[in-house]
Every structure is written in C-alpha cells, then in structure tokens.
Amino acid sequence: MMMYRVGFQNLQFGYAAALSYVLVGMLMVLAFVQVSYFRRRAVHY
C-alpha cells in the first residue's frame, strides 16, 4: 500500500523501487533462515 502511494501518488518511482527491493531482500533473508532451520529439523520417513 505504501509502495503504491509513494510510487503512483507521490510519483517517487525511485524511492518506491528501493522500498520494494529492501522488502524483497528482507523477505529473502527470513525465508532463507526459515528454510535452513526447518531443513535441519526435518523428519524423513
């Protein structure tokens, strides 16, 4: 929502793009941590 407002209402495309990349980066880090943690604890049948 904030990205949309910044990009298409305030017309700050650069800031909106940076915002989206920061969010993607943080989500990737969290996903990597979660996947590596659960892979270690996974039970194989």
Partner: protein
C-alpha cells in the same frame, strides 16, 4: 598461421558444431523465448535501475534505461524513514500471539467438541462451522465498531484479540480427534517410550507424535494467515 588465427578458427568451428546440434526450429523458438523474456523482464530491469536514480533523472526526455548519474539516496531514505525494527517486532508479536493462542484454544475446543458428550455440543460445532463459512468482509464493520467502542483502534490488542478468538482450526483439529478410536487415548510420554521401542524416541504411529504433526500444520497455517 598465427596463434590468434588458429584460435579464431577453432572457436568458429566449435560454435558451428554447437549450432549444428540444434535444428532451425529450436533456434527460432529460443529466439522467440529470449525476446519474450526480455519484454517481460523489462519492467523489472527498469525498476532496478530506477531505484538508483534521482527524481530529475527519471523525468528527463528522452528516457534512458540506465541512470545518467548513480545514487544510493533512495535506499538511505528507506532506512531513514521506516522503523523496520518496530514493524518486524509488531509482526512477530502479532503472528506469535495469534499462533500460540490458536494452538492452545483451538485444540482444546476441538477435543471437547469431538470427544466429550454434552448437551448442545453438535450445535456448537455447527455454529463454529457456519461462522467459518462467513467471509471476513461480512464481519469487518461490526468488528471495527466493537473495537472502536472498546478503545482498541490502532493498537496491537485490537489486531490480536479478534484473530485469537476465531476458532478457525477447531474443525480441522476436531476431525483429527474424531479420526482416533476411543481406545487410543493420548499416552503420557513415559508410557509411549516404553511402547515405542528401545530407542526412547516416540513411535511414528503414536497419537502424541501424530498430534504434534497436526499442531505443527495448524501453527504453519495460522502463522501464514
């Protein structure tokens, strides 16, 4: 013949042999796929470069794909203006509290509804199922009014309490409890170890272990929602 001429001849021969491996049709398909992928990737490439541009640079005519002058101002602005630590703390607090409360309350409610016989148990179960069928948009306005009257607007409890009180996992947990025969009750861990084998680890078929799987799937679903 010089070394460079020999190298050139070898590389052209290698590329010719590589091309001869593919048919004309495959090459045309690959070219079409490459063109289409470039067309679809263009907005993302533009966005990547836009994040390193200034506002005047973005509005210049004729537009260019790459920035005229590179800047990291947009990224520094993101970290200056947004309190990421607080946002993530709120997210973890909300998701954690909702997940834990759902696990405790849903499993207890499901066990009571599935296993204990009391007057009106099936009616309560049907009411829960009917409430689950209601879309969230239907309860949105009354819920807002309720939270407003309680003074919980723009607060974390205002988010956590309504979500914690939805018995969304009761039905799935209830069907899990119903799937177990009455004779197989939840065994204490010490008994389970005795019956599970010499390793001391709980048996894969044991009710406790199965219940832990059910609980983990519910916690994942609740955390995702």
């Amino acid at each position: 013949m010089t070394d460079s001429a020999l190298l050139l001849r070898a590389s052209t021969a290698r590329s010719r042999s590589m091309l001869s491996r593919f048919s004309v049709k495959q090459v045309i398909y690959a070219l079409i796929a490459l063109t289409l992928s470039f067309v679809f990737l263009l907005p993302i490439i533009w966005m990547t470069f836009a994040s390193f541009r200034t506002i005047p640079d973005l509005s210049t005519y004729p537009p260019t794909l790459t920035p005229r002058s590179w800047t990291l101002d947009n990224y520094t602005q993101v970290f200056k203006e947004l309190p990421f630590l607080r946002l993530y703390r709120n997210t973890f607090l909300y998701a954690g509290t909702v997940t834990v409360s759902s696990l405790v309350l849903d499993s207890m409610a499901a066990y009571a509804l599935a296993r204990l016989r009391f007057r009106g148990s099936s009616a309560v179960f049907v009411i829960i199922i009917i409430l689950l069928m209601l879309p969230f948009q239907v309860t949105l306005v009354p819920l807002y009014q309720l939270m407003h009257s309680l003074g919980l607007i723009n607060t974390l409890p205002g988010l956590i309490i309504p979500r914690s009180l939805m018995r969304s996992a009761s039905s799935s947990c209830g069907s899990f409890f119903l799937g177990f025969p009455m004779t197989l009750r939840m065994l204490p861990v010490s008994m389970e170890r005795r019956s599970g084998g010499s390793s001391g680890r709980s048996s894969r078929r044991s009710p406790n272990r199965r219940f832990s799987h059910s609980v983990s799937s519910i916690s994942k679903a609740t955390g995702t929602i």
